[in-house]
Structures are given as C-alpha cells and as structure tokens.
Point group: C2
Chain length 208, copies 2
C-alpha cells in the first residue's frame, strides 16, 4: 500500500474515532475503537501501533485546522498589527463556530486536551513559534521597544489568553467578540513597551 | 447570645469547616461537619440553618481577605494606574502565597469555587464594581478615551485574567509575576482607547 493510501486510511479512522469519542462522551482506546467502528483490530493496530499513536492522531486532527490558519496568516502580506489580529481572530472564529455547533462535544474535547497535555504541548509551542515571528516583524517596524521576543510573547499570550484558551468559550462566550479582540491587539501595539510607566510604583527604588 | 458572639462562633466553625474540606479533599455537608469536628449538630443547625448557609459561609471566608484588599486599595490615595496595579497585584500576591503554601488544597478550593458559582458570582460582581470605580477615576484623568466604563471593564478583565483566575496559578505559576502584571497595566494605560488603530482591518468598510 502506498504511503498516501495509508495516510488516507488513517485519516478516515481518525474521523471515526472523533465521532466515537463524541458519542461515548469520553476517551477511547484501540479496543473501544474496534468495537465502535467494526474496523478490524488488526487494521487498527497497523494504522496505530501504540495506544499513544491513536491519542496523538486525535490531537493532531483537532489542531490541524488551527495550524492551517496560523500558516495561512504567517504567509500573508500584512502589516504586523493586522497579522497579529488575524492570527488570533481566525482561530477564535473557527473555535467559536465549533463550540456553537455542539457545546457539549466541544467541552468534551477541551477536557480530553487537558488530559493529553504532552501531545497538546507541541501545538502550543508551534503557536508560540509563529507568534514570535509576528512579534519580530512588529519589532522591525518599531513596536514593543526594548522587550525581548520571549518577554513580549509571554505578555501578549497573557493579554490575549481569553481568545486562545477554548475554556473561555465555554465559560464566557457572550463576553468574547472580534471587536474586543481587535481593541486588545490595538492596545498591545499602542502601549506595549519595556519602559516603566509607573504602574508598579517606586517601592523598588525606595528599597534600593 | 449577642450577635457578635454568634458571629465569632460562626467564624470558628467556618475555620474548622475549611480544615475539614482540606482534609477530606472535597465538599462537606452539615452532617460531615458534625462528624469531623465533634461540634453538636444542633449547634451547627443554629449557626447554619440551611446547607446553603454553610456553603455561602465557606465562600465568604475564601473571599474575605480578597475583599479586604480591594477595599484597602480603593480607599488609598493613589493615581489610577498605581491603584489598578495594586488592585490586581495584592490579590495576586495573596493567592500565590496561598497556592505555594499548599498547592493541592488551593486546587481543591478553586474546584469547589467552580461548583458554587452562584455564591462566587457576587464576589466577582463586587470586584467588577470596584474596578469600575478605578476606571472612572482613570477616565477623569483622560485615560481610556471614548470607552464606556462597562466596555473598558470587560477589556481590562480580559487582559488581566491570568492574574485574577486562580486556575492560572495552578497551570502556569512560573509564567506569572508582578513585573509582567505591571507591564500589562502600563500597556493598558498607554494604549487602551475606543479609537480604531487598524488591527481589524477595513473589511467592514468594504462591506459598507
């Protein structure tokens, strides 16, 4: 069998596995996947040699559209503020549509993501990598003066977390909007800098 | 018995109830409180007529130091950026110390808070009320031009959420610091405004 055929088969089985997870309302093993889909266990073993391969494939399937969005945005010819907005807004729109279509299944997959943090982590790291590229582009244009890329990354991740962490779609969907997201990105580009503007006060100076 | 004696007794029992929750690793009822503390059920019934009264007292006890911090900060003579920083930083410091002293018990109380959202909500609303006062003071000084207080409140709550939601202390304690909090508050004061600085692009104009 050609590799591409194998990948197609694996993809089809992952789709069935996603449906099976949604129906069961919880995590699945290779054994329950065989029961639920009537696919031969031998075939499942060939496509997913280890249990961890099935879990990794499910996580990959969840993140695939989000990775595609990030890559599209990174490749686009846009100024850095527009690029950062699109980077967050398009993923937010995608996740919100998913949430609205089926809130219970959405919550289930978010919960499963928490329990597969090791597999999820690499996608979070990939998001950080792409956001760092946007930050570097912004700094080349004079934004975020004095901050290292990593420090700007950490601050921006914190300020935008409600538009990335899917649990906020479950907790406060009515408080999240593209308009607010745009205002936060505008605030970041207008105000983020390494210079101390006094919010923390001068207690450190007094101690020194 | 005088009301103040009754309050003292209720406080003592709430302290015992907090310890009992921590020991059990889960929610308690009036019955389990009587078993755990050897306090007579009749006395517990007098101090907490309904199960909901016990739950409300536990939530009140959790939020009491946080409310005291907020009231102290609101009463302080500080410029609005300093006040907003202290408003978040002092509660963050308090919660972080609690987390560091006993991460498991901290996580337990956060989880119980989620399951008593109705009791918790009034403290969240109180926090919004106080933050609105700080925003009004800031706007009197010319900050956040063009935004309604409620809209500024929503944006600021979103940008600062990692320093308020205790689950972030559990998830990413190493990424949170007073320095970053100060830089976010500085960013908010330097950059937050109703004016469109272009992050969202002109697609709406094109549609119009």
């Amino acid at each position: 069998m050609y590799d591409s055929d194998l990948n197609d088969e694996r993809d089809r089985l992952v789709e069935l596995a996603m449906e099976s997870v949604a129906r069961r309302g919880g995590d699945i093993s290779k054994a329950t996947l065989a029961t639920d889909t009537q696919v031969a266990r031998a075939k499942i073993d060939r496509l997913f040699p280890e249990e961890a391969d099935l879990a990794a494939a499910l996580v990959e399937r969840w993140f695939r559209p989000l990775v595609a969005i990030m890559e599209d945005v990174l490749a686009a010819e846009l100024p850095p503020n527009r690029k950062m907005y699109e980077f967050f807004a398009r993923r937010f729109d995608y996740l919100r549509a998913l949430f609205q279509r089926d809130p219970a299944t959405f919550a289930l997959f978010v919960e499963l993501g928490d329990s597969h943090w090791e597999e999820v982590r690499s996608y979070v790291d990939l998001g950080d990598h792409y956001l760092s590229e946007i930050i570097a582009q912004a700094q080349a244009d004079g934004y975020f003066p004095g901050l290292t890329i990593n420090h700007a990354l950490s601050l921006i991740n914190q300020m935008l977390v409600t538009y990335v962490q899917p649990m906020f779609l479950i907790m406060i969907p009515e408080k999240l909007s593209e308009d607010k997201l745009a205002q936060i990105v505008d605030t970041v580009f207008a105000g983020l800098s390494a210079s101390d503007r006094g919010a923390a006060g001068v207690s450190k100076l007094r101690i020194a």
